[in-house]
Point group: C2
Chain length 313, copies 2
């Protein structure tokens, strides 16, 4: 199952994202260690199952771990947890990441690499954005619905070049069939993803709607477009260049997307904490620090905070 | 039951507002004719019942009508219908209003007198705002909870003086125990009321919340305050002076209010049409015509349109 020429990966969080990409890496022969929580027994016995337009597969035996302590120190630790579990990282990252090893944070939001950086050091952190529709629909069972692109790069980018270690991970991912794209501008990828995440995650909770309901409604889509404008403007004022054509493209891509429940809506429906701060609060703060208000995004944030408070009472 | 010195009133719509004020007028000896729809049989048999901090009362016999055709032509026709029923006015107003008689539109929103004006002529229309918490809780049964102030004046105000006909109605209302205040600036009263109606009606539906839940929540109250600012600014740019102290007062009054379901929330919960256009759409249009955007109010409007579309599918 292992391959001496490739790096050894740890997957912290084996959900919609970690399960899919970790599963694809493992399928390709890379040594991948999965840290599991509630699914540990099931995956240890039955392995990992992925349904995907890229091809279904089942890995009957994968390296499973119930705690970080049993995991080997890995070259690359992929963080696929929700940011609402980042308080666990001080316990999880040190045992799973070898000296000098890299942490690749595949989470939604802005500035969400800071938690990992405070533990292993900024220089050892990469960040990535996943442009995909994927849900965990059962223990160790990932249903990948649409798209699958992943863009990642150095958190602390020091040059305009893609670093060799980012390129190496990209190569290993590509060899595993993952549509991986290394970038020398992680911030642009993050803001581009926020242009989707902020309206569609937030409004799907406030309006109790799927992405399809939102994009098909003439009024909801106006809110979406107003938010995309605000987010794009905020990116610009914080010094991040995102191609303005991405504004229309974000709407267009969603029109062509399969009907999909955003991760925040699934969290809300399943009474899990929502990633309000990572996805909406942090961009608002970043814009505010540059003197820019985002009125509709601010209102969305406040509506979500209200809903969260009522639902956890 | 009638009094030859007072005017004869028609009440079109005997709900939370029309039932309370019409009932108080009738109690004082004024001749009041009530047009009823679903409550006609009940009120004809059992009369009108009002519970109010101003004093409970029961009128066992009132003038009830099932259609406008049986009503006498009145001096003052009070429109207490929801604006969503304004399509009925061409049938209802001509028979109930004598030649030269006055129509007093006691509805929520902006420019909502225009429908009556197009039927009887602008010069015969008054408008009024009710600052009260009142609900119809059963057939012919009004529960008045809090406040009770009514401000009204000429729709087409030609001078800075209160007109004699407005003063006469105010006097008759005051004699009936109604806290009636004639005004020579109806537009200011309308916008002042919108400062409450827009945030509390709209958010109570979008966030599924009572006014108390909204005002007690640190995030929801920020949305409320942002909207009040936008509405006050819109009033100013459309040429209407509202004392800026009303901004804080609107919040303060709501803090001291009994827990209350806004009329829009009750309409939504009871699957009745919501007054989205009158209360939110028209002010948005008025502001837009003066080149002013109201970003959070616009988002609220679009959210409500989405919710309405989903709920009536």
């Amino acid at each position: 199952m292992s391959n001496s020429e490739t790096q050894r990966y740890a997957l912290i969080g084996t959900g919609a994202v970690g399960g899919l990409y970790g599963g694809m890496l493992a399928r390709s022969g890379v040594e991948v260690h999965f840290l599991l929580n509630s699914d540990y027994q099931h995956v240890s016995q039955h392995g990992l199952k992925v349904e995907s337009p890229l091809g279904d597969f089942h890995l009957p035996r994968v390296h499973t771990h119930a705690t970080a302590e049993t995991m080997p120190a890995c070259d690359v630790t992929i963080v696929g947890l929700k940011t609402t579990s980042n308080h666990l990282l001080p316990t999880l990252l040190p045992p799973t990441t070898r000296d000098g090893g890299i942490v690749l944070v595949l989470q939604n939001g802005l500035d969400i690499e800071a938690d990992a950086a405070s533990i292993v050091g900024t220089q050892r952190v990469l960040g990535g954005c996943c442009f995909l529709c994927s849900n965990k629909i059962g223990p160790g069972f990932i249903k990948h619905l649409d798209y699958g692109h992943i863009v990642f790069g150095e958190y602390d980018q020091l040059s305009t070049q893609i670093s060799p270690r980012v390129q190496r991970i990209a190569d290993e991912m590509k060899a595993a069939g993952i549509d991986a794209q290394p970038t020398a501008d992680l911030a642009a990828a993050r803001w581009r993803k926020l242009m989707w995440n902020i309206p569609f995650n937030g409004l799907s909770v406030v309006l109790d709607a799927s992405t399809k309901q939102l994009i098909d409604d003439p009024d909801a889509v106006q809110i979406v477009e107003a938010m995309i404008d605000e987010v794009h403007h905020a990116a610009t004022v914080t010094g991040v260049d995102v191609d303005p054509a991405q504004k229309a493209r974000t709407v267009e891509v969603t029109r062509q997307m399969v009907p999909y429940d955003s991760s925040m809506r699934l969290d809300y429906l399943n009474q899990r904490p929502m990633e309000i701060e990572a996805i909406i609060g942090n961009p608002l703060k970043a814009a505010r620090q540059c003197g820019v208000a985002m009125p509709t995004v601010a209102m969305l944030y406040q509506q979500l905070k209200f809903i969260e408070r009522v639902s956890t009472k």
